[in-house]
Amino acid sequence: MKSTFGEYGGRYVPDTLYSALESLEKAYVEIRRRPDFRKTLGGLLKDYVGRPTPLYFASRISEETGSQVFLKREDLNHTGAHKINNTLGQILVAKSMGKKRIIAETGAGQHGVATATACALMGLPCVVYMGEEDMARQSPNVYRMQLLGATIVPVTKGSRTLKDATTEAIRDWLLNVEDTFYIIGSVVGPHPYPTMVRDFQSVIGKETRRQIQSLVGRLPDAVIASVGGGSNAMGMFYPFIKDKTVALITAEAAGKGLDSDAQAAPLLRGRPGVLHGAKSYLLQDNEGQVSLAHSISAGLDYPGVGPELSYLKDLGRLTLDSATDDEAFAACGWLAKTEGIIPALEPAHALAVLRKRTDLKNKIVVVNISGRGDKDLGTLMEGLSHV
């Protein structure tokens, strides 16, 4: 298995973790070929998660934008987001390796909930690292994880968001590497995580491909996905990479403005760097210290991005775009009022990009609705009261 995407990715970790990553790669390469593994995962995705998720033609939004807009309804998955596609895959790998304890990091809490869910299902103890700031703004997910039996460790260091939660999870893994499996929630971290997470998430793009062909008889002109670490984007994009007629549009978080200090758009504003075990585009200051990201959406509030997306950017395969906090917030209400769907703040960035791009008129466009908005009600209500 290749450990890099062009110059990106790799395994920037101390030797202590290296052998654990080698064993993980070996186990994953072996298990993904096994028919019984595919059957078990396929069965869980169908009967437990509720896949395939619908590809819904949003007629009122289409009318308003002049595009033919299809929404990939990952919000209808069990636990309310795409994250469960990955955690079920990884927990089966963990079980096959005989690991006794699961750890995870979480930003918005969706990956934490999806990990806690998979652990409850498999009867494994679960520890989730979550930044204090994220615990406050995504409190429903904290209760959900506790209800599912997970232990939440508040991270009080540094940014108190996803970046430091990830650092703490890596530290836990370094200390307990022999019996612990680390379920990473995005296409980030050292090899083989970016590849493995992308593989488990690419069910999104594979279904979309099949569904759009049966609905309109051809491939879409564009697919849009929000990008934090990039798991919903890589899951949607991967099966379309070779189809050069399909534009792959990334919606990063411009926060309070792309050129302000308060943004989370490493593909647009970062430089190649090393964080959390991999090389990728990274927000950093003039001294090489990692900058604090900012986004209204906890799931996008991360200074790095997946190495494969970094590589696709350099190849010119991505159409890079972004949406500010305000635009995402507005797009959230727009979808709610126009189609009766409350999206999470993360996919609201993708909707905001759809809304402002005039070049998508008369085009067939798929937007990945990676999760539902229930977890963001607190933030949304607070915002509404300021309007």
Binding site: R11, Y12, V13, D15, K163, R171, G277, G288
Partner: protein, 298 residues
């Protein structure tokens, strides 16, 4: 208090590396690095390598602590460059990096390269740097090793750089004569150990326990001596053990099997634990010096 920096009016000491190179225009320049400096240290037994963070609690005080460590008997000085997200370090060193980065005068790599040649300790012991891969990458890989050589640095430890991703780093390290010291843990497989040792230069940094810097209460001596034998069977190279050493007894036990002992978190922690909140930089250095001495003196 000596802050480790020679004043401009001080007469250059002909025996010190910093003093040996006076340019014609009077600007003091570091002597391009002496290749044998590191090798020579390992001719003696019981090599003591304290680790200190550059800029914690301030640049001045940290340099004075480094001088104190050398005066107390350090054989090699390991200087950590603070990073926002050091994944291999435990809570004590992470906190130390955070304190250093919170200073108004930032303890940057540029800053270190400019002050290091003026220090007294550079002329006394080999200085090695420990820093995260991103800081090297950001500085420019080739430029980092060039600047390190100019500043008189004897080696670089990049804890999150794996041998598999190290090709451009090794190339630059060789070109400028500043070796990369690779970390090896007791969990390393034979195949990988051979790969690492093929490129190992200067010495090998053996991680004494699985996990993070400074978080273990006890050392697994059996694992360590097994690992030392495995390494020595493959390559004749000096070995220093680090991560988790906090008593003289532990250091003594490690010196029985390894050439050097690295002490980081315990010393860095001792600085923070200075009981009096009004302690001056001088008190901190005195306290630090006392702690260092307990580790090396009989």
């Amino acid at each position: 208090m000596s802050n480790g920096i020679q004043s401009d009016s001080a007469k250059p000491d002909p025996n010190s590396a910093a003093g040996a190179n006076f340019h014609k225009n009077g600007i003091q320049r570091a002597k391009p690095f002496d290749k044998n400096k590191l090798k020579n240290v390992f001719r003696k037994k019981n090599v003591f390598i304290p680790y200190l963070t550059f800029g914690d609690p301030t640049i001045e005080t940290s340099l004075a602590m480094m001088q104190a460590a050398v005066d107390a008997g350090a054989d090699i000085l390991e200087i950590g460059i603070p990073f926002s997200d050091p994944i291999a370090d435990g809570p004590v060193i992470q906190a130390s990096h955070q304190r250093a980065l919170a200073q108004t005068v930032k303890p940057t790599l540029e800053k270190l390269f400019s002050v290091l040649p003026k220090t007294t300790f550079l002329g006394q012991v080999p200085v090695i740097l420990m820093l995260s891969a991103n800081l090297v990458l950001h500085h420019g890989i080739d430029r980092f090793f060039a600047d390190a050589a100019m500043a008189g640095v004897s080696a670089a430890v990049i804890p999150d750089l794996s041998i598999e991703d190290a090709a451009p780093y090794i190339l630059a390290a060789k070109a400028h004569g500043v070796p990369i010291v690779f970390l090896v843990s007791t969990l390393c497989t034979d195949v990988r150990l051979k790969k690492i040792l093929r490129h190992a230069d200067g010495f090998v940094y053996l991680i004494s326990s699985k996990g993070l810097t400074g978080t273990r209460d006890s050392l697994d001596m059996t694992d360590i001596s097994d690992m030392v034998s495995r390494i020595k069977a493959i390559k004749k190279i000096p070995l220093a053990v680090g991560f988790g050493v906090k008593t003289r007894a532990q250091a003594d036990a490690l010196w029985q099997v390894a050439d050097g002992v690295i002490v980081g978190s315990y010393l860095v922690g001792a600085v923070v634990d200075v009981p009096d909140p009004t302690a001056t930089a001088f008190d901190i250095v005195a306290e630090f010096s006392a702690v260092s001495r307990t580790l090396i003196e009989n």
